[in-house]
Symmetry: C2
Subunit: 427 residues, 2 copies
């Protein structure tokens, strides 16, 4: 699809440059050149005279949000079955639903809904779990590609501890299917890339992990999985992997845990030990903090303040359908909210996250996994969302910064009036 | 306003009969006679042939929700200033905003927005704080009366520890203003009733409490206030009232703490002692559980499971603007969510609330404060809300009960297609 190579958006521009501050440029021009942010100006400099300007009026313009953990096939049951913990929830609700994606007609119907709603959301980048089914995962990638959003999508690997209806017969079969999927989709897409996706340690034999590690090296793939989400899960991993001293090692022993050659997202990290935290830091693992899911599944509250203080990489995820809302704006509010409860109830040495910090996590924090993404600083990819808050009436004057906070708390997809990814207008 | 005395709504009817179960009547008729629920029928019995039927199609019909704690003047700053605890938040944000309601023009502008949004919400009953200003509070009551919702509204009393801009000069002045307000509004409204509203113990001298107690007895008024929300607040009350052994006694010593002659709502009760809990039970005090506010202001999580086990009266409140959302559907989801975190982080002897229980709290739990309200059992007042969830697409068949849970989690005012209070159609 063609797009103007140089253009500007005009409005109230808000973005992070660091984790503790949101820069606000009222009624200004944000210029895009060849898909990249070229600058912010109160008046357009002469070199840009005559470029196309989309005037968003009094609306807010923020960087696109990066949802670094969610499950596309689970979107169908979001907001339902909310009275279970992780392992029961997987067996009772998740696995039976995911098994339906063996049927491509069902997958098409379900994924079309998911992809249309994701397109309307403030998310511009995402790292997404599919199911173990190659055909359905390719279908999901086809649909995502058309939207213009930039995503990683994973065909899930699982060869143990699943139900008969949702399990690959052997490590060999799982690896073979993965190679078929990679071959089918190689160079097929501009926006949609594969990511290696062992479901989590309880679902993958050592033999499978070994094969995936070989595939990872050969194809230079990034990796996504789950880590230290739930106490029952952690004990189970300890039983399954008696040779490891903590959960993260179950991935690390196969070379599937970060490092320069293996960019990795680990979802949750609610109950990570000091040793695990240290290893995540050393390996540059991205932590996908999913506060809504960790609440819904009674998992707990991850110590994000601690991770930030220690310099770890952290982004936010909606974790559909452990989380029920597809909105990354809601994820920002949730991150602040649960951090307050953690401060109050668990450890008052770890201060609650500020609004500025949570906004940073949803933009630059997770955006970094996709490159120079998540800010409007010069040289960042031009991912932008236009938010109209006129629906929320108020009797008093409000600062742009306060309007942004309010939008995040009252978030609603009616507010989203425009979306750009790498300079391309999606709507 | 006239309305048909006998009519029916047709759709998927969902309501509580007890705290552990939601009754579902698919594609059925809910008959209203003289403002009261007369029965639910799969086919209309002969006696009702020819009555007016509003066919809601595949929509859900639930009892109107009772919001038993919120502050109308704070609606203007909902979702902003979310990085403070209670006492700082009151001084920095709340009191300066409330002081503006001395200006009737400002009050009209602000309250019009609040009342219009409340009308569009799923709330049919509410117990609302105004400000200390008589004129603005009467204006709020005028606006609420017009909507047809049934509400209690309180002119706030506060004669100590406030800022100069928001404090009554003396107990006498506060009492006099209260009497003026009661006289102005006596017999003026069909739907809107006064409720005595000492802000909270730190804001009211003993002399004022004494005068309010006299007014309460003379005018047979119900009472609303705040209790044991925040640790700093509780310590402060202990200093202010050295003669009491717990916070609740600061109200009880003046006879402003429940009992048959003084129906009372106490908001929060996050940190109530055993003695306080016992007294609330004895006095039949209604606890307004406000999970979103208790999260936003880092107050903590009230032990609602414990209160239910002990047979206390509990309803839900949005607590605008400690809570940011006016939606009581959201309050239901929040109540479930925080109870899970409490189970996980504080006390795993207290099981999380189920969806059914939280739905009960928002309907029958709080509804009881208003009479036979909050259910569709025969003889209950006909408060009903029509919810259309067709906006939330899904690939699989769903039960009505699951659709209700999903609606609560994904709640959005676009779903609310109709609202009735005591049989009167608001829209």
């Amino acid at each position: 699809m063609k797009h103007e190579t140089t253009f500007a958006l005009k409005g109230n521009i808000c973005f992070s440059e660091s984790s503790d501050q949101i820069s606000v440029h009222e009624n200004s021009y944000l210029v895009c050149e060849n898909g990249v942010c070229a600058g912010i100006f109160k008046e357009l400099p002469e070199q840009y005279h005559g470029i196309c300007v989309r005037d968003a009026g009094d609306a807010l313009i923020i960087p696109g949000l990066a949802d670094i953990h969610l499950h596309a096939p689970q979107y169908s049951f979001r907001g339902m079955g909310m009275d279970l913990e992780l392992l029961d929830w997987l067996n009772t609700i998740t696995f039976p639903e995911e098994s339906k994606y063996a049927d491509s007609d069902y997958a098409r119907k379900a994924y079309s809904i998911f992809v249309e709603d994701l397109k309307k959301s403030p998310t511009t980048r995402a790292s997404i779990f599919g199911t173990l089914h190659v055909e359905a995962t390719e279908l999901l990638m086809d649909l995502l590609e058309e939207t213009g959003m930039k995503t990683y999508v994973g065909k899930v690997n699982m060869d143990r501890n699943g139900p008969d209806i949702l399990q690959e017969k052997s490590a060999a079969e799982s690896a073979e299917a993965t190679l078929r999927w990679l071959s089918d989709t190689a160079d097929k897409y501009e926006n949609t890339k594969p990511i290696l996706t062992p479901r989590f340690t309880p679902s993958c034999t050592d033999e499978l992990m070994q094969k995936l590690a070989e595939i990872q090296k050969e194809h230079h793939l990034p990796v996504q999985s789950h880590l230290s989400e739930n106490m029952g899960e952690i004990s189970w991993v300890q039983e399954l992997c008696p040779n490891t001293s903590f959960y993260g090692e179950a991935y690390e022993q196969f070379g599937l845990f970060g490092g320069e050659e293996c960019p990795t997202i680990m979802a949750h990290c609610v109950h990570s030990s000091e040793a695990e935290i240290e290893l995540m830091k050393k390996q540059g693992v991205y932590i996908a903090h999913c506060p809504q899911s960790n609440t819904n599944l009674s998992s707990g509250i991850a110590p994000i303040r601690d991770y930030l203080d220690k310099g770890l990489r952290v982004g936010l995820g909606t974790d559909i359908a452990g989380g029920h809302s597809l909105s990354m704006l809601r994820a920002i509010a949730d991150a602040v909210q649960v951090s307050k409860l953690r401060w109050r109830l668990v450890d008052d040495r770890l201060k609650a996250l500020t609004f500025e910090e949570a906004f940073y996590l949803a933009t630059m924090g997770g955006g970094e996994f996709f490159g120079k993404v998540g800010s409007f600083q010069k040289g960042y990819e031009f991912d932008a969302v236009i938010l109209d808050d006129s629906f929320y009436r108020h009797p008093q004057p409000l600062s742009v910064r306060d309007r942004l906070e309010r939008l995040v708390y009252l978030s609603d997809d009616r507010c989203i009036k425009g979306k750009y990814v790498s300079g391309r207008e999606l709507f």
